[in-house]
Amino acid sequence: MAHAVRKLTAHVLKTNNVESIIGNTAVRANSTWWGNVEMGPPDVILGITEAYKRDTNPKKVNLGVGAYRDDNGNPFVLPSVRKAEEIIHKKGLNHEYAPIGGEASYTDAVAKLAFGENSPVLKNKTNVTVQTLSGTGALRLGLEFITKHYAKNKEIWMPTPTWGNHPQICNTLNLSHKKYRYYDPKTHGFDLQGAIEDISKIPEGSIILLHACAHNPTGVDPKPADWEKLSHVIKERKLYPFFDMAYQGFATGDVDGDAFAVRHFVKEGHQVTLAQSFAKNMGLYGERAGALTFLCGDEGSAAKVMSQVKIMIRVMYSNPPLYGARLVQEILNTPELKKQWLADVKSMADRIISMRTKLRAGIEGAGNKQPWQHITDQIGMFCYTGLKPEQVERLTKEFHIYLTKDGRISVAGISSKNVDYVAEAMHKVTS
């Protein structure tokens, strides 16, 4: 202990790194500091929700929403979450600071959920798993870590298209980002050949972003055989796979099935990095429960990575918010609650799948000549309908159905009460 204390002394007695002023001064507007601040670009999706709210038409439908809704169009607090809240509340816990990386009971549980109970990488303690501010927080932390500590090619390749915030985060970090082919607009499906071709040309050592399941915004996922091919070419190119898993369990209703890609890559020896979110699959959107995992290959590297990740967390928000994480931890670590949760998440996935089925049947049933198989082939919350901007505009103006210009709909916004109307409208604008 004396040694630890001496080390501590040495560390603290280091002087702050005070540099001399270079004196970069900005021109200040007359009486305000803020005169040069430019108006930022508006958020597209927020704009759609705002427009929907303003619409007084009784038939209006919001297919822009990125949160699950039940069959009455209402937010859904999972029964397992309600139970967990009761249990946690009764425990009467205090609100003392969490460890910087979150509580071990949480990080262990979420890592097991992602990689499998008996995953060797977890058993060997070669993983670094920290709690983050949901998926966004994990992506930001992971990508920032890469910009600071990754020794190879600091460029990240993303699927075309991808979630709007992916390139945004990279821009914030001045991290160069490029695209690989992914969605095939002709088939409304996965462009395996295009993806493989593009990935084969990515410079060695670059980072490749992959959506683990329920691709956002297209809903198009590679099949297991496709994932095997992707794994192969990614390994050949010595690329660094960074998975974004925001929908585990939510895609097919099966948490293990939805984790196939991640686990396959791990089995194939890739040292993946994983961003996890519990916003959708536990309905904990606003409580910001997520996790970031680095698979580091060996314990020594893991220890070093953890020390650096903690410093990065410390200078961003010090330590994570516990309310949501405590619920996740309670659910995952209590067998009856976990069982309830698996049923809850399956019920959400099932409802989405049944709405896809009904929507497709409705459009086809109206005699529409276009192909609509992709509606049921695609998976998860979102569906790339293939509608063109003019058709989208008609849907909104004539039918008061709100969705993004790229033709993406949130299937969560469809219910048994409005699916016929939506099908009818989609048929009309595409005839």
């Binding site: 002087t15 540099e19 508006p42 290959g297 928000y317």
Partner: protein, 415 residues
Amino acid sequence: MSSRFAVVEQGPPIEVFLLNKLFTDDTNKNKVNLGVGAYRDENGKPWVLPVVRKMEKQMAADETLLHEYLPVLGLEQFSNSSVSMLLGEDSPAIAEGRAFGIQVLSGTGGLRVGAEFLNKHLKYTTFYYSNPTWENHHLVFVNSGFTNPRVYRYWDDKTCAINFDGMIEDLKNAPENSVILLHACAHNPTGIDPTQEQWIKIADVMEERKLFPFFDSAYQGFASGDLDRDAWAVRYFVKRGFELVCAQSYAKNFGLYNERVGNLSVVVSDSKLIPAMKSQLTWVVRGMYSNPPAHGARVVANVLSDKKLFDEWRDHIKVMSARVMQMREALRAELVKLGTPGNWDHIVKQIGLFSYTGLTSKQCEYLIQEHHIYLLKSGRINICGLNPSNVQYVARAMHDAITKFPAQEDQPSKL
């Protein structure tokens, strides 16, 4: 396959957490934790404020409560209440629509979002902080893009008071548009705040040199027990016509440490600029964590907006601040009784959670090793770690350390 992370260097440990770990692992029954800054009651236990428990119970029973996303800038009711609490309900800045707040991840989150915004959109690169200051200030700003960290003199270890002439001189030499980090009250780690006259002079210099105030308010109410008194400095600067930002934390004054509840208040001279500023702050947050956690902010918002609960809360902070003051008195009394060398008045003159005792690093090391009393090497102690059953033990140990390792034989404590 060799790890791609083999090149990563081991990061230095963060002192206060390492200290906490040492304390936790220590099996000595007399051990005392004077390290990490959290309130402890007279039994050395964390205290969940009764009004917080009450609100959480109410929220737990509310079947209509959902977990939907908050707006990017957080719960508006929470921010409005926070801005009012800081600037005063009747603040002209509020009446004129020139003040707004955004919800952030406690104090650290407020500092980080504020600093990133100032660096990216105003292109500020120089920032000043007190010597000493909270150990995280430097890195938060550096990681936000600031490239020129500077210190202003503050703590004078010879007098255990503010080196005010030094501070003013350093501010006078600061380049225009430097961001000056100021502790709104209960300076961490020294516990010494400028007097009102001193704040006026600081404002004079900052106005003259066109320096930008960034207040860190982590202890409003907790310092003196009076919310208005603890906000005097911020309100004075607003009255003087400064534009400023202030990172507010509810970790200590609401005891909501692990729910990360904070607000970043912004005061501008022209309300027309606010939409553009909010839009850019939105993008800063979006790229960091999308939107803030709801639970803690709801608790605070509900309490602040209900007169009865708000009054209850004010009683709680009086209790906490009173206990702190009581322990300051008790420690000083014990040291005086023991005839410990030195003047111990600073312990009761200082305010808030912390006291810069003036102990040297050698004396601190001895306190940890020999007496199992855990404090930072700078000599900073968390007064809350003291209680009637250990204050005598601590005083005796301090006396022992000071007489065994007198200060002149050693380097004075420094950052």
